[in-house]
Symmetry: C2
Subunit: 418 residues, 2 copies
């Protein structure tokens, strides 16, 4: 007998970026964790199956966060007067060091995971720290939470304090250990994670690319976030054509599925390569302005057909709720529009699409309520005064702009209530 | 016998924008609602007085919101794809109309006031709606909440839908009625509030200026928010030198104390006039980007000695917590800095100063813990993991960036706990 669940409520999701699909007072049928369909009434063949009735509440796909650092969670909103490289050395590395202690790692990652899930993120691409033991704790914590994630031990073998870098061999050995331990896991899986080019020797990058190809694993890293960083990469990797090329040459740029955070200052060759290799870019708007990196030219990239999802980038970004990233992405696109009216601002549905179906595509059929998609969902509770006055789309917009975890009253991953 | 209260905790405030004053584990003595001093231990003469001991918690001045629309609270975060003038006609006016109904007004203003106070705003300059009866309800609701506020019936006698404009005489008569009823009140007081130049006839502006001067009342309105609006003002008021001059000629521009929201696109004459007339500008960063108005050149204005406070601008802004306005002001200043590195980004203490002492100066001795200032305060509760790791300033920064009303565990206005 199949595992059937029927959820009743108002369903909103984005099949395409241009518009919301809205199903008022409907019944979604989930079979074995996958969406079977959305119907006006329960089809005869599903009569008698369990029903979760949410009445006048909205049901939307769970959020997908394509870029955040679990080990920086405590630091969210601290040290925000610094620019990227100073911020790392003055605040971040000291905190990341503590994750070598399993007990601390377990406790801190539990705080992180609870808030992440509370805020509605049900799939995420996560950087842990350079500690293999600490990263193991993160795998375990996330498995307990039952959300989906790619988790990366952060690989660094130079240009960071001694207390958090490893030798090339240690870094690769720890990565391999985690791959072999967690590769078979269902929802929490390993991802190859060089921190970024400047903290990696060419040998480390090569070793990581080899692992990605050998085990057919996805890759995540940082790309072209900041002009100082780009110049630093050019100095360190003299033979490379550009920043992207450093990863590309090492099988870390789309040879297996790859998500790169930021990508603000890509040159034309890099944009073409991103597109050709079918990369996913993680747009992290709060982080980009907090550490004064700049604004990603999202509309330009979208027009070129580049795939973009959203990242909270905890702790360059200060808010873990992905709805905040949607709002900031829209706000920054409006600023670009004020400078150049050909660059149309992002709409609410476009930002929502980026934070659900587009980001979700990195995980598979995730982030939509179309047939065969995993039933990952959030149930939203809003004020009765709002619910009675406004349309379903307005109510969703209000949650995105002004809501928080208190407005999420239930969460589902693959058809199971968390 | 005087009314003495002693509060123990860590005190942080800004005497000047440049830096935080930090008093670790100290005792603040409030006498008759005013700060007497902050001491390492309770002075002998105050021994035996009541003590509220907040241990390891931070105590900061209450927030001062210089610009928001109480009647738009329900609309926060809705209709954000529109620009200013469309947003008003498509969403705002219909909602404001409902405040002609006293029962609705009481209910909606109660929701508004509860959230405002929860989020830490203890003084505010508030636009109600054009309804005299509705505005009366707002006075009553705020008096019950015991916070301080200037409340304005919104004056409009043209260029808005018939159902919310009044005749010039009705608008002035209702304003006068509220002035005479509430002028003697202690903390919730009337303020002259033309919505903005375009919805006022010259006769209405003149009548309002006369009332301001006659009763020595403060004035609030909107100024130079958007280029279309500026052109509209030029068309409507042919004889005026510029937008500011329309208000100035009518005694609505500093002849009594005046706060103007936005002021993004001031020409040199206007800037000089703003400074000369000692105006306060309310910077509303979220609103300015949501409705695509632009970015106020805050650093330039500050360097000229123009006074600036912060406004949430509910519902052009979508977040009522003034800490969000501080963050967005910093973020936007960082974007201006990326374009021109001579424009230094706002620091955390500068943004905090704008949202406490600078805005507070519009109300009197408000927004600081210096001697003789009203003891308006918020007590912050943070996670023990954060409290043990970070400095007091870091903990405050974290609250500003990543906190919300759940982190405020007590509120004081003029020495009394709410």
């Amino acid at each position: 007998m199949k595992n059937v669940l029927i959820v009743k409520g108002h369903f909103i999701y984005t099949k395409t970026p241009e518009r919301f699909e809205v199903y008022e007072s409907s019944c979604l049928v989930s079979v074995d964790g996958k969406v079977e369909g959305i119907y006006p009434v329960i089809p005869d063949r599903f009569k008698g199956c369990p029903v979760h009735d949410y009445g006048n509440r909205l049901v939307i796909p769970g959020f997908v966060d394509l870029h955040l650092h679990a080990a920086q969670f405590f630091q969210s909103g601290i040290g925000m007067t610094k620019q990227l490289l100073d911020w790392l050395s003055d605040y971040t590395f000291d905190l990341e060091r503590e994750f070598q202690n399993r007990k601390f790692a377990r406790e801190a990652y539990t705080c992180f995971a609870e808030k992440l899930v509370a805020c509605g993120t049900l799939r995420a691409c996560i950087f842990a720290s350079s500690s293999t033991a600490g990263t193991e704790e993160l795998f375990e914590v996330l498995k307990e939470k039952r959300i989906g994630a790619y988790v990366g031990k952060v690989n660094m073998d130079r240009n960071a304090p001694d207390f958090i870098i490893e030798t090339t061999e240690e870094s690769l050995r720890g990565t391999k250990y985690l791959i072999e331990k967690y590769q078979g896991e269902n929802r929490v899986k390993p991802i190859i994670t060089p921190r970024f080019a400047p903290t990696s020797t060419p040998e480390l990058l090569k070793g990581l690319g080899d692992l990605a190809v050998k085990y057919d694993l996805p890759v995540q890293s940082h790309l072209s976030e900041n002009m100082d960083e780009i110049r630093w990469v050019q100095d360190l990797f003299k033979g490379a054509k550009n920043y992207s090329d450093v990863y590309f040459k090492n099988n870390l740029f789309g040879q297996t599925k790859t998500v790169m955070a930021h990508g603000i200052y890509l040159d034309d060759d890099e944009k073409a390569l991103v597109k050709k290799m079918d990369l996913m870019l993680a747009h992290c708007p709060d982080s980009n302005i907090n550490v004064r990196s700049g604004i990603m030219p999202v509309r330009t990239y979208l027009d070129m057909g580049i795939k973009i999802g959203l990242g909270s980038d905890i702790a360059g970004g200060h808010k873990i709720g992905l709805n905040e990233a949607m709002v900031r992405a829209i706000q920054l696109s409006k600023l670009l529009n004020l400078e150049n009216d050909k660059l149309k601002p992002l709409t609410v549905s476009e930002a929502f699409y980026m934070g659900t179906k587009s980001g979700g595509s990195f995980f598979g059929k995730i982030g939509s309520f179309e047939k065969k998609f995993c039933f990952d969902a959030l149930v939203l509770e809003d004020d009765p005064m709002i619910a009675q006055r406004y349309s379903l789309e307005d109510r969703l917009e209000k949650f995105i702009y002004a809501g928080d975890d208190r407005n999420i009253c239930a969460r589902y991953v693959e058809g199971k209530k968390l």
